[in-house]
């Protein structure tokens, strides 16, 4: 396959960026999208150009490092798929593919397709945990967890923290990410004690990072590579609303 990619090139945080077109030849349908970029980078290096910087690590869809908005869709056209698990067989010979970084005011572009997502870490820092210092734990079987709660927690906990929800949201909201963590910990018996304070602290940090509010459009859940459902946000909303009238736990 021969394709053309139009890629956002930007040298650093302060520089202006622009879309640049490159032809990439000899692409196999069995290549992943990132392997296609590897081929492009080999081409660029051969002629002494700077290769395209892009984030990637595990290349098996779990670490959440890869990003890329491909033809306007975060993680590309395939549902429930990270960019690293997107294969070139989903494109056609002769296609022109637009590749851009996650765009959000809270995600400054560091170079080309690489953005700074530390805002998401700070949301976790604000309260996305259960306070269980090492050594303090009771026996694992001491508390029964109904299977439906364990499953629900798991469905929320599979969030890979990639930020696609934010990249896709017309409001630039991070509520799906925040809601998933609040849900994961909030449905487990171990997470009840801090449940309300957690919800408030995370939402406050979410707003402080400059993410927008959620208008329930659902674009986030549609691009989410692990299918975090939209009801995570409603769960968080309910926790915040019920926390406000309470005194601090």
């Amino acid at each position: 396959m021969n394709i053309t990619v139009r890629i956002w090139r930007q040298h650093d945080r302060a520089a202006a960026g622009r879309m640049v077109s490159y032809g990439v030849d000899g692409i196999s349908p069995d290549m992943s999208f990132l392997e296609m970029l590897d081929v492009l980078n080999d081409q660029l290096t051969a002629v002494g150009d700077d290769p395209v910087a892009f984030d990637h690590d595990c290349r098996e869809g779990i670490c959440g490092m890869c990003s890329l908005v491909i033809n306007g869709i975060a993680h590309g056209p395939e549902a429930l798929t990270t960019t690293c698990q997107l294969y070139m067989r989903h494109f056609n010979d002769g296609d022109t593919i637009d590749v851009e970084p996650w765009r959000s005011q809270a995600f400054p572009i560091l170079r080309d397709l690489v953005v700074d997502r530390s805002a998401m870490d700070r949301i976790i820092q604000a309260g996305g945990y259960i306070s269980a210092p090492t050594g303090s734990a009771p026996d694992a079987a001491a508390t029964l967890v109904p299977k439906k709660d364990a499953d629900r927690a798991f469905d929320a906990a599979v969030c890979i923290g990639c930020g696609a929800c934010i990249a896709a949201c017309p409001n630039g909201s991070g509520m799906l990410f925040t809601g998933a963590k609040a849900n994961h910990l909030g449905v487990l018996p171990q997470g009840q004690t801090e449940r309300h304070e957690r919800a408030l602290a995370m939402v406050n940090q979410h707003d402080a990072e400059g993410f927008g509010g959620c208008t329930q459009i659902g674009e986030c859940t549609a691009v989410c590579p692990v299918g975090i459902p939209l009801d995570m946000i409603s769960f968080l909303n309910a926790d915040v609303l019920s926390a406000l009238p309470r005194k601090q736990d």
Binding site: R103, N171, N237
Partner: protein, 273 residues
């Protein structure tokens, strides 16, 4: 990072961004937008200003307005009882609660609640609008260079016209109040009888058209607004719940749309005069 650093912004967009910044200053003072200073606040007083709370406020006020709309729609349908029935109903509205309340007292209570709801709804909308513009360098869902998939993967028309739809509805409400409530403008001729004002107005094609357009905008607004109001209040608990709320929103939006469209269309068609 400024907007121009994020990407080359067309001039109109930067003008838009400038006006946003001015709006931000105003809203910032009015509503404590600047979260940097919020660190001194307690967790709760910060959370009261959170997007979650603003959306909850929009949801509650929106639902109040929907209840009003349903009652209003019911009243409109009195047009089929003729002038006496309709005007009698209008007069009755002023007598509710008498003698406990003064004449038109209940109506005024209702008006105050409605006005407060409208103001809070609009105010929250502006703050949230500002925040989402800020979060997306002023361009919302159109912040990518590519022109492909501008409508995203599954965005509905209703969901991404909420804000402009709201503006259209707001302008219409002003026009509507001037026309049928305070009787300040009177296409087709003024009258002391509400029934007469209504009939006079809706015999004119452009008045009907303006109402039809506004009601369609309202329909879209409600279609997404009702579902998202419940979701904002925490009622969307599951995939099945999401489906139910969406169906409910469609039904209520259609009900209100049809209920409001019937009287003007019937008048225009000449079946009521």
């Amino acid at each position: 990072m400024s907007i121009s650093q994020m990407r080359h912004a067309p001039r109109f967009a930067s003008t838009l961004a400038k006006s946003h910044r001015m709006l931000a200053c105003w809203l910032g003072r009015a509503y404590g937008w600047h979260m940097g200073t919020g660190q001194l606040r307690s967790v709760r007083s910060t959370a009261v200003r959170s997007s979650v709370m603003l959306h909850a406020a929009m949801a509650v006020t929106g639902l109040i307005m929907i209840l009003f709309l349903l009652a209003h729609m019911y009243g409109n349908l009195k047009v089929f009882e003729g002038q006496q029935g309709f005007d009698g109903y209008a007069a009755y509205l002023r007598e509710i609660g008498q003698p406990l309340l003064p004449h038109a007292g209940a109506l005024w209570i209702l008006r105050v609640i409605l006005l407060a709801s409208v103001l809070l709804h609009i105010f929250s909308a502006f703050v949230l609008w500002h925040r989402s513009r800020h979060a997306t360098a002023g361009k919302g869902g159109w912040r990518y260079e590519t022109t492909r998939n501008r409508r995203g993967v599954q965005r509905s028309y209703a969901s991404f016209t909420m804000r402009w739809g709201g503006v259209v509805i707001g302008l219409f409400v002003i026009y509507h109040l001037l026309h049928l409530s305070v009787n300040a403008i009177a296409p087709g001729g003024a009258s002391a009888s509400p029934y007469q004002r209504m009939v006079n107005g809706f015999e004119i094609w452009w008045v009907v058209l303006s109402y039809v357009i506004a009601l369609i905008a309202l329909g879209f607004h409600l279609r997404h607004g009702i579902w998202s109001a419940f979701a904002s209040l925490g009622a969307n608990k599951s995939v099945a719940g999401r489906r139910f709320l969406n169906q409910l929103a469609t039904i209520v939006a259609l009900l209100i749309l049809v209920g409001f469209l019937v009287p003007p269309l019937v008048i225009f068609a000449g079946w009521v005069s």
